[in-house]
């Protein structure tokens, strides 16, 4: 019998398609009353896992239960679980209302429920239109309407934001939170943490079919690694000094600053003082979740010889190997890769729907200078060795101190304003020292992580969204 709990259990789940191990020994639980994000790059096995949960794909090993029962024992599953799956079909010439009435009949709910859910998802006026003429976003809404038809206790959504407009995404977030807070269960998959970060409480991150992280999102936040941003008078001198002090995880930053990982502000200050390098600014930054997500899931496609996953066309990270990991150095460079990535390279290629409407017009100004800047780095700039002589290419100096105008869009309070270069998330701790070259941060309310900076997951997986 069903226990009525609304709990989803995935236990030691594996699935092989021929020789391809799509899912390997996956285990997690989804508790009622919470929204759980199921995250991983494309091809990580998310969809396969959800389809096994829903009885559509037979596992090679392991099992899944909903309400303590496998899907096939739910009786009338449409009343227990609603699912929005990728590539869920509609007969092209059947109207939206008729589509819903078919499945209303199948699960034994009254026909008027079809109209209710149509109105709920905002398709009330499109009920008599054939689903074949729907846009992707409308199809997603119709799929959601179908999932809600049976007023289920558990909602499973596979990339539900695909094709949704900003309004639709915002609505979906609110809806899912409300749905979960009524004591029901939501499992939502995405390849973009940013897309679901504000919605989810718990997170399961998988990569290559295996669990990389499973737990509360807050705990994941706490585990973030921080880095120290230093603005020295003489970068190359400081770098040499730091290296002598065996602090080697150093990255140049676009505006003459240096990012140091694995050292405290005090240590760096001491080294700088000993070396006689003046520091104009030092502050600690926490990497945002997106970067952590990226680190957890990157490498899926990073076989030697392949293009590094981080590099989309024309991106910030591209020129000159500045931020690109050299394939054989991949393991050590993972964190750096994570740092160097976020934000920039994504902006040019992101479909608009993933950003709030006010977000994208403002990206361009910031984007251009960055690109120019990074192009001034000599090609083949060695990342790890950090050779000082390679650090000051012609044209570098003028850039120094020039606020690259675009990080923080000058006007209108919007989430990205406090974003320092590099697409960092809003720092979760107060910054010890404000960078003088940073754009003026208008007194914006501490915003939710902005859409603008949260896209690396996509680039990180080779952009095969």
């Amino acid at each position: 019998m069903q226990d009525g709990s609304g709990r989803i259990v995935v236990q030691n789940l594996s699935k092989n398609f021929g020789n391809v191990a799509a899912v390997q020994n996956l285990s997690f639980q989804v508790e009622p009353g919470s929204v759980t994000g199921f995250l991983g790059p494309n091809g990580a096995g998310k969809t396969t896992t959800l389809r096994m949960l829903l009885g559509l794909v037979t596992p090679t090993a392991g099992y899944t239960t909903i309400n303590g029962q496998p899907f096939s024992h739910l009786g009338n599953p449409g009343r227990v679980v609603g699912a929005v799956l990728e590539a869920q079909g509609f007969h092209p010439s059947r109207t939206a209302r008729n589509h819903l009435r078919v499945y209303a009949a199948a699960m034994g709910v009254p026909d008027q429920r079809a109209d209710e859910v149509l109105n709920l998802v905002g398709l009330g006026s499109a009920g008599e239109r054939a689903a074949g003429g729907f846009s992707l976003g409308m199809k997603q809404r119709l799929a959601l309407a179908t999932a809600l038809l049976g007023d289920p206790q558990v909602l499973v959504l596979d990339e539900p934001a695909n094709g949704l407009d900003p309004e639709g995404i915002a609505w979906l977030r609110t809806f899912l939170k409300a749905f979960a807070s009524s004591g029901r269960t939501v499992l939502i998959s995405s390849h973009l943490l940013a897309e679901v970060e504000q919605t989810i409480d718990q997170v399961v991150i998988i990569s290559r079919g295996q669990t990389m992280y499973y737990g509360m999102l807050d705990e994941l936040r706490k585990s973030q690694q921080s880095r120290v941003i230093v603005q020295p008078a003489d970068a190359s001198k400081l770098v040499t000094a730091l290296q002598e002090a065996e602090i080697t995880n150093i990255q140049p930053m676009p505006d003459g600053k240096v990012a140091v990982v694995g050292a405290t502000v005090q240590q760096i200050g001491d080294v700088a003082a000993a070396a006689g390098v003046a520091l104009y600014g030092v502050h600690e930054e926490k990497a945002d979740l997106e970067q952590l997500f990226f680190r957890l899931t990157s490498g899926q496609y990073a076989a030697p010889g392949m293009a590094p996953p981080a590099v989309p066309p024309g991106g910030y990270a591209q020129p000159g190997g500045y931020a690109q990991p050299v394939p054989q150095q991949m393991p050590q460079q993972m964190p750096q890769q994570g740092y160097a990535q976020p934000g920039y390279q994504q902006q040019g290629q992101q479909p608009g729907y993933q950003m709030p409407p006010q977000g994208y017009p403002q990206q361009q100004p910031g984007y251009q200078p960055t690109q120019q800047y990074s192009q001034q780095y000599p090609q083949g700039y060695p990342q790890q060795g950090y050779q000082p002589q390679g650090y000051a290419p012609p044209g570098y100096a003028p850039q120094q101190g020039t606020p690259p105008g675009g990080w923080g869009p000058p006007s209108t309070p919007q989430p990205a304003q406090q974003t320092p270069p590099g697409g960092w998330g809003p720092p979760s701790t107060p910054q010890p020292a404000q960078d003088p070259t940073a754009p003026p941060a208008p007194p914006a309310p501490p915003p939710p992580p902005s859409e603008q900076e949260q896209q690396p997951g996509q680039g990180g997986t080779g952009g095969n969204a």
């Binding site: 079909g89 007969h91 059947r94």
Partner: protein
């Protein structure tokens, strides 16, 4: 199960396929019955004239039963197509995902589909039977019509053939999962490969029953046996009364010729053919069902 049956009916009635196939089915049955009834009536009177039969009127050679049979037989292609698309197009359009998600288990979806499509096969069969009857009535004019009992038996076997063809098509569609592949295969087989090969086999094996064991052959036997037996009896009567008792060889030859004329070369009798065809339907339907019980819906 009742809920799923209702859902299946809604699936059919909210799309156009059912009437898009029914219209040509009716047209073909009516037209074919009409035209061939005219032709066969001519042939019948020619035969009786040539034999110069004194006491036998052409009333006794009801060749128009062939028209009825063959019209029904051809029209079974449409319920076949209808059935072939039942599951294959759901798999192709991915609506099968939602269908499986809203049903207790896969077997219940397929079971409900089988029931609903059997009913639709029946609906097709009855409408096609009426159209074919109308065509024969118009086309035969003053010629000889089969007796009511034979007529009904021919129609009944035609209706059963429609139901079984629908289910067989559904089974093949479930097995292949692709509407295009399913349609190509069932249509090529039922309209071309099956009839041709059965004709050749029957001729080359001198009237053996090999062809009657095949899917299409047994289906033809189901629809064609009644008419061919009827005609065979009539011909035997006519010749028997005129020329004297026939040899076994002659009887066999007549039988073969009449069965070919009825579109059922090498077929067994009505009941045996029906059972063989039922077996084929069960085979395809069953394997299709098992295939979908295990299919990963991705």
């Amino acid at each position: 199960m009742g809920r799923l049956i209702k859902a299946e009916f809604r699936k059919i009635l909210t799309t156009k396929l059912w009437w898009a196939l029914l219209i040509p089915a009716v047209g073909l049955a009516l037209g074919w019955a009409w035209l061939s009834a005219i032709a066969f009536t001519d042939v019948a009177s020619d035969i009786t004239d040539a034999l110069d039969v004194q006491n036998v009127s052409d009333q006794q050679l009801s060749l128009s039963s062939l028209a009825l049979t063959r019209a029904m037989n051809f029209a079974t292609l449409f319920p076949l197509v209808f059935g072939a698309l039942a599951l294959a197009s759901e798999i192709n359009r991915k609506t099968i995902t939602t269908s499986f998600l809203t049903a207790p288990n896969r077997a219940s979806v397929l079971g409900a589909k089988a029931i609903v499509y059997a009913l639709w096969g029946l609906i097709y069969g009855v409408i096609v039977a009426l159209a074919a009857s109308l065509g024969v009535l118009i086309g035969t004019g003053n010629g000889a019509l089969p007796e009511a009992g034979d007529w009904i038996l021919i129609l009944l076997s035609g209706v059963i053939a429609c139901v079984l063809w629908t289910l067989l098509g559904m089974g093949v569609g479930a097995l292949l999962g692709s509407p295009v592949a399913t349609l190509v295969i069932v249509l090529l087989y039922a309209a071309l490969v099956g009839p041709t090969s059965e004709f050749i086999i029957t001729l080359s094996t001198e009237g053996s029953h090999i062809a009657g064991v095949m899917p299409n052959g047994s289906a033809n036997g189901l629809t064609g046996s009644t008419a061919s037996e009827l005609l065979f009896d009539q011909i035997q009567d006519i010749f028997g009364s005129q020329i004297g008792p026939l040899t076994d060889k002659q009887i066999d030859d007549f039988d073969t010729v009449v069965r070919i004329a009825a579109g059922a070369p090498g077929a067994f009798s009505l009941w045996v053919s029906g059972l063989i065809f039922l077996g084929w339907t069960a085979l395809f339907f069953g394997t299709g069902l098992i295939r979908n019980q295990r299919r990963d819906i991705t």
